[in-house]
Subunit: 299 residues, 4 copies
């Protein structure tokens, strides 16, 4: 594969060096938009994109995403954040600012199925996934050469019933402080509550069904048995409840009585990779807010 | 509404008077297609459309749907059926022949929501639903004038906890021997096992979710609570298991976090009416076979 | 049909009496959002929804749609508009404010095909189309009883080669000052440049193809001849160029080699009515801005 | 990439060694299905799948695709074909029989965009594309390492205004007698009428628009200028008329006013690769018949 990725990235870096994204959630109240936009204006920022959502005009929650350009962003970010605290306090905001140029670092976890991993690598290489793929961790060694051909470190961390705790300790060492997002790209091992807590709303899983239908194992077999006319896939943040976390994205494809389980899996692979890639893209572009086990998706 | 429906029908009747549809299911075996097509050829029939499906080439079930044209069909049908018994016996077939000109008679059951009923009436009037709507039965009187404006009899059969058995008795009297298909177009009452048995695989219900997700009551509220990104509707044959019968058709529409329960219902109404209308259309065109709680849909 | 529409409307009216929608377009510049939101805050308004779009952060056009709630809106609207002129001048804005409670008045033009008209009437009756259908004008008398059964005035204005000018004069008299939007719901007559100019960006047409494919007459025949695998429909604002105006909405449906022209028309009718209904809904909810023969659709 | 492809293939080869596919087209007439199925039955074949299509029951064309299993297929194929000539003559059939185990050999032509090529390689490696990719030919050398990492020969055949004839001569030498299908996977050079004739209905091109909209160059720019709300891609057989050949498959994706040309291209790449991969899959599975510049697609 042509490794001219770096070049493209550098160009993009230049364009994006002054771009920031702000995510805000707080109880709704008059004056929020005015206060935030006035603040940004006074700082010299130009708002490029803005989305907002009010759950209920009477006393609901308010969510906002703003993209803005600001000269010398990197140098000025800290003081801008300190200044913004006044407004944040006034409206009891939870908020964050992200520099677009500071690309999120991803660790992809994978087992034996390679389609989701391949799609992510490919979109990354094409410049469609604006992130850094820092490493791939697998409980098998099968995909080492594929991954390393992209210049990405590959860590084989075998998992057995006996070595579970040890394996997770190893995973934690590899990722701690080095990645911003974990993507379970058809990783067939359970992740511990402790790990989930450490990466709260920062672990994305792809489940191969249209949740909440067919929770748990063998969803395509379940779908075949039930005789559904559409099959789907769901990307969600991982929580302690199996397949129960906030849904980021879902999609489906039409099937017929002619499609046996093997064919459902084949069709499903195409849905899974597209759905997971969209979810990861939206996350690294700071488009997702989580509230009460649901996502607000500014896409 | 323009009542020139009858005229159109007469014209169609002429065209379809020689058209028949045959549905066959039997254990798979070499020679079925040859035997059936040879038989039809010898009878002077011309095969216009043919679909088949083999569950498993090694010892599975075989399903077939054939449309053919035969001169003087009405007069010759009985002897053709008698002659076909030889072949049917040889392959242990379950089979039926339907004349296209003999339109299926439908009773639509409805409660207070009118969108599914309206869509069926409208497609029927446009000539898209090639059936006879024999009557509408409702536990409310709200839609009488709408239904009667189409020249269709309307029966108000109130249902209360106390009068359940009596009401069903009344429904049975109204429909017995007079209809071929019951369509539950958002009919919010439970139908008894006895009634289901009488109309085995001839009662179609529309459930306002993407089954098997959100079985039971208030599916849009359930969908809202779970934060799904697509909502759907499912048309299925009614069996004793609630929302558990063979699925005929499903479809979905994309939703976002902005859509509250009211909006989900609004969007859902459009999916429901389309999905139900498709399912009824396919049934009356003899395109559905049921096998082991799943449908073979030759569409 | 149940005529309890009025009741529903009154209830909605109450809820919406304080809701306004503002549409703005101007050259992009820092400070627009701050100025507008600060202005609304000082007026005591609460921003409920806000969308914006910048064509190009470097010197492009800026478009914005804001929904806000303001107590005593009706009484205060004029002074609010006068006060806003300061800001509008500063940024060279084109802008309008609409009260949600002041429902847009629609004249539907129709010929002999009733599916688009029926869908609009139905969505209107279900409360999904928040507008007033003031009249239906047709060059035929066929749909009078349908339309009048909804309590809507029906005007039969025949059009022949000789009476074209006269007919349009009649149409102009019927609509002038009485309607805000003209919907051509499969109206098969050409509308004059003068009429188009009078209702600039306020005439919506449904074209029965996926524009710009199959401009002009008999698009389903054209689609059949070309052997396309998807057919579509397009709702657009009418301009002098045939089928060339700004596109509001498009959708498609899959077809196969089995679908002859009659079947394409049948499938197409379902796409047409959905696409047109969406376009009309978005227009009456003040979601459309037109710029250089394209729409900015805040949907 | 894991090169266990060969192993999978061998397994599939075994299963498919007795499977054949037959494509037939002829003027419609009573008795065709009976004759063909009786013939196959007498030969000892078991029909596994059968599709047929009659353009017009009164004197139209008849098209058929049959999959059947026959023991010792490879040895018996020639005599079976000789015997079938009797029937073919009787009905004036054009027909072919293909062994499923004899995988079609593909030459992929590509220029600088790699997404279509990558998708084909990937689906091939996953076992979803049941063909042999015999070679990749490109007018650039960029994708050599990618292609060779799959173990596939890569031929760099530069094309300039001056060397056009010479280049095509080289391409002809490389492919002649060695490939069954040419796939233009975003190959940006014109193919000569002579070459098209040699591979009549065996060259598949992907055009990056929803044909017949936006024929010719820069379709995404054209789509942007027109302000369409959906963009598409079209896979078609190449004929002498630019972008005018029989359409195999099309699909679309929703876009908005926010999507500039770069974004349209990004979205379009996903449609293109899916549409092209489907078309190639259907072709190599002998599912396509061409008649009068249209395809009959038994999919």
């Amino acid at each position: 594969m042509s490794h001219n990725n770096q070049l493209q990235e550098n160009k993009k870096f230049d364009d994006k060096s002054i771009r920031a994204r702000m995510l805000i959630s707080c109880p709704d109240k008059a004056g929020i938009v005015a206060a935030v936009s006035q603040f940004l204006y006074e700082q010299g920022a130009n708002i490029v994109q803005s989305d907002q959502y009010t759950m209920d005009p009477e006393g609901g929650m308010f969510f906002m995403r703003i993209e803005f350009d600001l000269q010398e962003l990197e140098q000025r970010l800290q003081s801008l954040q300190e200044d913004f605290n006044r407004i944040a306090d006034r409206f009891s905001m939870r908020w964050s600012i992200f520099r677009a140029a500071r690309r999120k670092r991803i660790a992809i976890f994978v087992s034996k199925e390679d389609h989701c991993l391949t799609e992510l690598l490919w979109q990354w290489q094409a410049g469609d996934l604006d992130a850094e793929i820092s490493m791939v961790i697998s409980n098998h060694d099968d995909m080492r050469s594929l991954v390393e051909s992209f210049g990405i470190p590959y860590h084989h961390v075998p998992v057995t019933a006996d070595t579970k705790a040890e394996a997770e300790q190893k995973q934690r060492e590899l990722t701690s402080g080095k990645v911003d997002l974990i993507v379970l790209a058809r990783y067939m091992q359970i992740v511990s509550p402790k790990f989930i807590e450490q990466y709260h709303n920062r672990i994305i899983n792809i489940h191969h069904s249209f949740l909440p239908a067919f929770v748990g194992g063998k969803p395509y077999q379940q779908a075949y048995n039930r005789g559904v006319k559409l099959i789907g896939a769901t990307a969600h943040y991982v929580t302690e409840e199996l397949d129960g976390g906030p849904i980021i994205e879902q999609d489906i494809q039409r099937v017929t009585h002619r499609d046996d389980v093997t064919e459902l899996k084949r069709i499903g692979r195409h849905i899974e990779r597209i759905v997971l890639a969209r979810a990861v893209k939206w996350h690294v572009e700071d488009r997702m807010l989580v509230y009460q086990n649901k996502t607000v998706a500014f896409v």
